[in-house]
Amino acid sequence: MVGEVKHRRKDLENILDYLSSKLREILGTIPEYISCSLEEIRIRLDKPLMVIAGEKDYILTERGLPTLDISKAYIVTKDDVLKTFQLISDYSIYAVEEELRNGFLTLRGGYRVGIAGKVVLENGAIKTLKHVSGFNIRINREIKGISKRILPYITEPLETVYNTLIISPPQCGKTTLLRDIALNISNGIEGYLRGKKVSIIDERSEIAGCYMGVPQNDVGIRTDVIDACPKAQGILMVIRAMSPEVIVTDEIGRREDVVAINEAVNSGVKVITTVHGKNLEEVSKKPHVSELVANGIFERYVILSKRLGSGTIEAIIEGQKYSAILSGPIK
C-alpha cells in the first residue's frame, strides 16, 4: 500500500507538468489523503476545479484544500484551459487532430486526457474539436497482480488459456484487470503457465496507454500492441501478421467485432475481452454480443462489480453449462 501511495504521488507529479502554472500550484499542494487515491482531475472552464479520489469528488480552493463551499472554490480560467491544452498537446495542436477526433489524448506515462469542446463536422463525420472547454485527466490504475486470483479459473496449467469475457459495469476496473491478465499471460508464470504471444488491440489506448506507439503500461514481454486501431480491423490484422496465441481487446459490441472474434477463435487464437453489463443475463440480451454467448464461443465469464470497491469479482462462470465455478463477492 505504501508503494501504491508513492506511485500515486509520482503520477500526480508527472501530470503537473502538463498543467498551467496556476493549476500546478494548486494541485501540487493537495493533501496526501486525496493525492494517494487520486483518480481524475476535472478541469472545466469557468467551473470549480475538481479532483476525484477514492470515488468521491473534491472541490478545491486556491490553496489546494478541499471545500464544500463553492464560493471558495478555485474557478478555472480561460488561460488555464488554453495553456493546459497547449501543454498536453506538446504545443502542437496541429499534430493531434487525429486524437482530437477521438476525444482524447494520451500523455507520456500513459495518462489519458478526455477533451470537451465544440465538435467541427465535415460530411457528417467529426473533423476536429475547437473551443476546447474542459479536460478530464485520468490516472489509470496499473495494479500488478490483481489478476492472480482469477487466472487459475481462466487458464489451465502450462498451455491452456480459455476464451474469456469480462462482464462489468463502467468504472469497476475491467481495463485494469484486462491489462494485468495480458501481462501475466504474456510473461508467463513459472511452473504454472508458459508465456504466450499476446496481441493487444487497443482502440482507445487504454489498455497499454501508448505514447507515440510505445506502451507506457507494462503489458508483458511477449505482447504486441496495435494502438488506436478499430477492434475488428485490428483483430484481423494481427491474425494475419503477428501470429498471436491470445488476442486481448476492450469493450466489444459492434457487429464487426463479433465477426472478427469468430474469425480469431476459428483460427485457433484465444480471445480475452470485455463488455459493459451487470451479469450474464444482461449480456445475452445485447445485440451481436449475445450471438457469441449463444454459440458458446466464450469458455469463461468473469463478472465484476463495485460491491467491495472497484474490482470486486462477483462470479466466474464456466461457458458450457453456465455454472458458476467461483461465486463472490470477493476482492
Binding site: Y18, L19, S21, R24, Q86, D90, Y94, A95, E97
Partner: protein, 173 residues
C-alpha cells in the same frame, strides 16, 4: 612628412572602415530577413507536412540556420521543453524581445513575428498553414524593402566614409 603621410593614411582607412561597417548593417539586415524566412519555411514543412511536435520542429530548424536568428528558434524550444507553464506565444515573445537588440530587425518585423507566435501551434493544420503563408508574405515585403535600401545605401556609405576621411586629411594638412 612621413608622419603626416602615415597619419593621413590612418585617418582615411579608419573612416573608410566606418563607412563599410555602417553599410554592412544593410547587408546584415537583408541576410537576417532571408534567414528568418528560410527558418519559418522549414518550420512550416516540419509542422504541416511532418507533424513534428513544436519543440522538436523548432530545434531541428535552429540547427539548419545560422547566426542570431537560429537563437529565436532554439531558445523558444528550450523554454517550451522546460515545461514551466509558458504558452507558445509567451515563450516566443520573450525570446524575440530578448533577441531584438542583437539583430538588425526592426519594430515592423517584431510585430509580424509576435502575431505569428500568437497562433503558432495552437490550431489545426489548415490554420497553421495560413499563418505561415501570411507571415512569409509580410516578411518577403520587408526583405524587398531592405534590399532596395541596401542597394541605395551601401555604395553611398562606403564612398562617404572614404570621402569624409579625405576631407578631414585635407583640412588637417
Amino acid at each position: 612628412m612621413v608622419i603626416k603621410f602615415v597619419g593621413a593614411f590612418l585617418i582615411i582607412s579608419a573612416t573608410t572602415l566606418i563607412g563599410y561597417i555602417y553599410s554592412n548593417i544593410y547587408n546584415l539586415r537583408v541576410k537576417e530577413l532571408r534567414e528568418l524566412q528560410y527558418g519559418i519555411q522549414m518550420l512550416e514543412t516540419e509542422m504541416v507536412y511532418g507533424y513534428s511536435p513544436l519543440p522538436e520542429a523548432l530545434d531541428s530548424v535552429s540547427r539548419r540556420i545560422s547566426d542570431n536568428i537560429s537563437l529565436l528558434f532554439s531558445e523558444t524550444s528550450k523554454k517550451l521543453r522546460s515545461k514551466n507553464g509558458l504558452s507558445v506565444s509567451e515563450a516566443w515573445s520573450l525570446t524575440l524581445n530578448a533577441l531584438m537588440p542583437k539583430t538588425s530587425l526592426t519594430a515592423v518585423e517584431r510585430d509580424i513575428l509576435l502575431a505569428f507566435g500568437e497562433s503558432l501551434g495552437t490550431s489545426d493544420v489548415k490554420n497553421q498553414s495560413r499563418n505561415f503563408k501570411l507571415t512569409l508574405t509580410l516578411l518577403k515585403q520587408e526583405e524587398l524593402k531592405a534590399v532596395e535600401l541596401r542597394d541605395k545605401n551601401v555604395k553611398m556609405y562606403r564612398n562617404l566614409g572614404f570621402l569624409f576621411g579625405l576631407a578631414l586629411v585635407i583640412i588637417l594638412i
